[in-house]
């Protein structure tokens, strides 16, 4: 099966103290990848590179159906949900309609897709709710719905559960686990090694700006266990 995205020899330098380098990263369709690593390791930077928000100084990024020079069109294959997502002013429908309108989807199909997607994220009947009146967990789910409604090939989630309370965590994780069924490849970043084990079919570990590409579960767990013992856990 053709990879969703391939990164090769990527190098990004931000300021004087941070650089990210990825020799090779190939993501297969309909899988969930957990991106782990300590704070400041480069997880968010890598997600932003994959979302085409940040241009690397060197390297190539290719999507499944060949290289297109139209950046906006390429961006439409991939969607990033930030750790603290921004919802546009207006209603939930206004937010979910934004990307659909850009893609020229007609009003009837927009309504259908919005209704179906809100059901997937457990927000049935939220169409007319004002974005400003939503709780933190609801904002997170609307942001996810806003990305999912676009049916992206690649969905990038930057620490999606960082601002979610423990009651909503299980439901959110169950939701993420089911996403490949809708034809989406998911990459989510997390600090939590147990979450990466629970959800990630493959774990990508990043340290000091270097990606340990597609590290198998064993060694990653070994690193985690070794650290846990160091801190007496």
């Amino acid at each position: 099966m053709q990879p969703v995205i391939s990164l090769k020899d990527i190098r990004v330098t931000l300021g004087q103290n941070f650089s990210l380098s990825v020799e090779s990263l190939v993501l297969q369709p309909h899988r969930i990848y957990a991106l782990t690593g300590p704070n400041g390791a480069g997880k968010s930077t890598l997600l932003r590179v994959m979302a085409l928000l940040l241009s690397p100084q060197a390297g190539t990024i290719e999507f499944a159906e060949g290289d297109s020079r139209d950046l906006a069109r390429q961006r439409q294959r991939v969607t990033l949900v930030e750790q603290t997502p921004y919802l546009f002013e207006g209603s939930v429908t206004d937010n979910l309609s934004f990307g659909l309108k850009l893609r020229g989807i007609n009003s009837r199909e927009r309504s259908e897709r919005i209704r179906a997607t809100l059901a997937i994220v457990g927000l049935e009947g939220f169409e007319q709710r004002r974005a400003k009146e939503l709780s933190g967990g609801e904002v997170q789910r609307v942001a996810l719905a806003r990305a999912l409604v676009l049916k992206p090939e690649l969905l990038l989630l930057d620490e999606p559960t960082a601002n979610i309370d423990s009651n909503s965590l299980q439901a959110y994780e169950a939701l993420l686990r089911g996403l490949p069924e809708y034809g989406v490849t998911v990459v989510f970043s997390t600090h939590d090694p147990s979450q990466s084990r629970r959800l990630g079919e493959e774990v990508l570990r990043i340290e000091y700006g270097h990606l340990v590409n597609g590290a198998p579960r064993g060694p990653q767990d070994a690193v985690f266990n070794q650290r846990r013992s160091m801190y007496g856990a």
Partner: protein, 228 residues
């Protein structure tokens, strides 16, 4: 009733009686100010947006220039445009001097830097995630910038209203480029200056009351926008 009392009474009679001179001055003021603010918005909003979204060499210099232009004395704008539009000036053959068009041009020069500067402030103060959110949802840079404008629309409207407040209250440009011609380029402010110097205090007072009312309405609207 005394000087003030009599003048106020006459002023209200002129206003409520829809005095033709008063009406013409009010119309000329509103017409020239509205046209100039519309053009200033078309120029100032994109400039403010562009300066707010891009980082490039010389940006700070441009912002400093905009700040300076904001404080331009109206008579200096009048003087410079007079030099351009007078018969000996490069644009003299167009015959624009002492016409409403000349006043609109001058007032546009006054208002555009205000609009640009306040839009720049609104863009700088906006949530930094707006542009990236729009981009990740598939927008082009232009579409993302338009979405940003939607999100900061109240700031943009406040910028336009502030520009309108500046041009409707100015005298220098209207006097020097319009010439204060009766029923043509005489605005509320130039009429107040002229009529008061002629001793027609009540007439000036009538226009002053209307001008103050317009300023009050504009400011109430501005405050209402800033509360949102």
């Amino acid at each position: 009733m005394g000087y003030w009392g009599d003048s106020l009474l006459t002023a209200f009679e002129l206003i409520l009686g829809f005095d033709r001179e008063v009406r013409m001055a009010v119309w000329t003021s509103l017409y020239t100010s509205s046209c100039s603010i519309a053009i200033a918005a078309l120029l100032g909003v994109p400039i403010g947006l562009w300066l707010g979204l891009n980082r490039f060499r010389g940006r700070q210099l441009l912002i400093a220039l905009l700040n300076t232009l904001m404080a331009l004395p109206t008579v200096v704008v009048g003087l410079l445009l007079f030099g351009l539009l007078s018969r000996q000036g490069p644009l003299g053959p167009l015959g624009l001097l002492f016409t409403p068009l000349a006043m609109i041009a001058g007032q546009t020069v006054l208002a555009a830097p205000i609009v640009a500067n306040l839009v720049l402030a609104a863009v700088t103060g906006a949530d930094q995630r707006i542009i990236n959110t729009a981009l990740t949802l598939g927008a082009s840079r232009l579409q993302a910038a338009i979405q940003l404008l939607r999100e900061i629309r109240f700031g943009v409207m406040a910028a336009v209203i502030a520009g309108f407040g500046r041009v409707i209250a100015e005298v220098g440009v209207a006097m020097m480029l319009g010439g204060n011609i009766r029923n043509s380029t005489r605005t509320m402010t130039t009429a107040i200056a002229l009529e008061t110097s002629k001793g027609e205090f009540a007439f000036g007072l009538a226009l002053g009351i209307i001008l103050l009312s317009v300023a009050l309405i504009v400011n109430l609207f501005l405050n209402a926008l800033q509360q949102r």
